[in-house]
Symmetry: D2
Subunit: 180 residues, 4 copies
């Protein structure tokens, strides 16, 4: 889910051991941002997908996201993860309302919900975030590609995204009125 | 879109000629209700689909819906169309908020949006409505079938629903967290 | 409701007589945009209010809005009314999804809903629209003022907005998480 | 926030010490349910408010809510807290979608957001939940009262609710279209 670096940088809040311990006993609060490009009428023209190695040694397309820290506002967590994944000049339009377009419940047990995270129970507030600047994949991402809504919907269907992220992407497409 | 009977019964509001005339010059306001059965945790277990002859002489699965009348509240229009399509003892749970799960813009020109209505420009506020009573297809519907979310998603994909209604159904499924 | 000019410019769609006639027999579809300024975290810092003469000879603060035309998409209607009310370089961020933050049902009869329009039954899809450019009041507006969320909430309470617009503004503030 | 009993009953998941420790280092995931009575058109006719002693020795009106447990779905947490606060035959209509009407960010530091919880950083997904059965205040609640939307809005204004819950209630009222 793209927060390996989170472990290092959140040292002031929580040691790696404490975080691992908490992960087995509490739901973790996450945010995900589906990065998009929009035209001047707000129509989504492209989605940004990060190519990343997943926990199983495979690679897959993912959206932006990670954990919300102690005493961090949701909009600040969104901005931090956009910067961490897409660089400092992505210039995201953080949504005006904290109401998410979807709530993704990642369970460590497969099949409980459409979202699976072997490491933890994570509840993710999902947003669509328009990027207006220059986006470059950071750190653990191998590549960033911009695809049309049609291509994104097909990639999700063909299993080129990690399963949970494919569901998120199709939910985001449905929310903006694209036929999924 | 299932409002043939609407023409007759709305005589007090608008003659057939006036309605036809307005249809070519103003967007019509519609509501659609995706009928569902839910369990005691609010999980959608079934969707109700009406088999209807469409304007082209074909038949297809559709959801409940129709026009909002002059001086009629949205929640009253929803209740009226549920009764008109599913009978007087469907016992719908009309949503507490008028905020729709989706806004479907039906255009007379195909391809402008995913929604098409050859007769008119209609803007439909779409809701998910749980039915708690006995539903029976009324008037122009040939059949009512209750299918699982999985079956509904597949029927929409296979083109067994009128195109626009297939999109509506898949949007509704995405909204409740079902992987489309 | 700020669409006097709409009558003139929509002549290709509908004559003034036809529009007046339809207004007494069909619900009119409207859009409203609450104009805001946001910071780089998406926090609403200011709301834009237009001072306008109302139908009763009084003046009051209003938000942007007007009718949706035949064969016009909602996002195009939003862009058109923003330009018509705030000028050609307001540079609005039209929302990515047509899902409104609220549905305001204006009735010609006072008291049916919190929204009243003596001229017609109008159903308005309401959005929050961030402006990034230079906004100047156009045509029938006497002034445009930018106020803080706190000030806007108080102005709505003190009755300095036309009643229906005060309700819209407070709904918008609640939606973005401001305590109303 | 009404989850004192939560501490006892969640022993299988987390000891009191571990929970206290986590509360100072991770955001806790909460749910809140604004209990309502609705008529057959979905109109909210009454809100249910629990009178409870708060942490400061005062008493105030509150809505239903509490923590989400490890490996617990949001809809199951909602059902559990409704039962814990209103009894086993409240017969709640758990929402069909996990999309909340609001996200309330409770901070231990007053003034960061409109929501304050001296014990912790808690992020609460808020829902409106219609009750169809018999509700009786449980455990630490002194009383349950059903009030009209107008009365609830006024109680929130007069400070008869704990501050954060007053904001939640007014957000819920705005969401269902009540003028706040």
């Amino acid at each position: 889910m793209g927060d390996n670096t989170d472990l290092e940088t959140s040292a002031a809040w929580l040691s790696r051991e404490d975080l691992e311990s908490a992960r087995g006993r509490l739901p973790m609060l996450y945010v995900h941002a589906v990065p998009v490009r929009v035209d001047d009428r707000g129509v989504v023209t492209q989605l940004g997908l990060l190519l990343r190695a997943d926990d199983d040694g495979g690679i897959g397309q993912e959206v932006v996201g990670g954990r919300v820290r102690y005493h961090e506002k949701i909009r600040d967590a969104l901005a931090r993860h956009v910067e961490s994944d897409l660089g400092p000049v992505a210039l995201p339009r953080i949504p005006v309302s904290p109401q998410p377009i979807a709530v993704a419940e990642f369970f460590p047990t497969p099949g409980v919900t459409p979202y699976h995270d072997p490491r933890q129970h994570a509840v993710s507030l999902t947003y669509i975030v328009a990027m207006t600047g220059d986006c470059r994949p950071q750190q653990d991402a191998l590549d960033l590609s911009w695809v049309t809504p049609e291509e994104a919907a097909e990639m999700a269907m063909r299993g080129e995204m990690s399963g949970s992220h494919g569901v998120l992407v199709r939910q985001a497409l449905a929310h903006v009125g694209f036929p999924v």
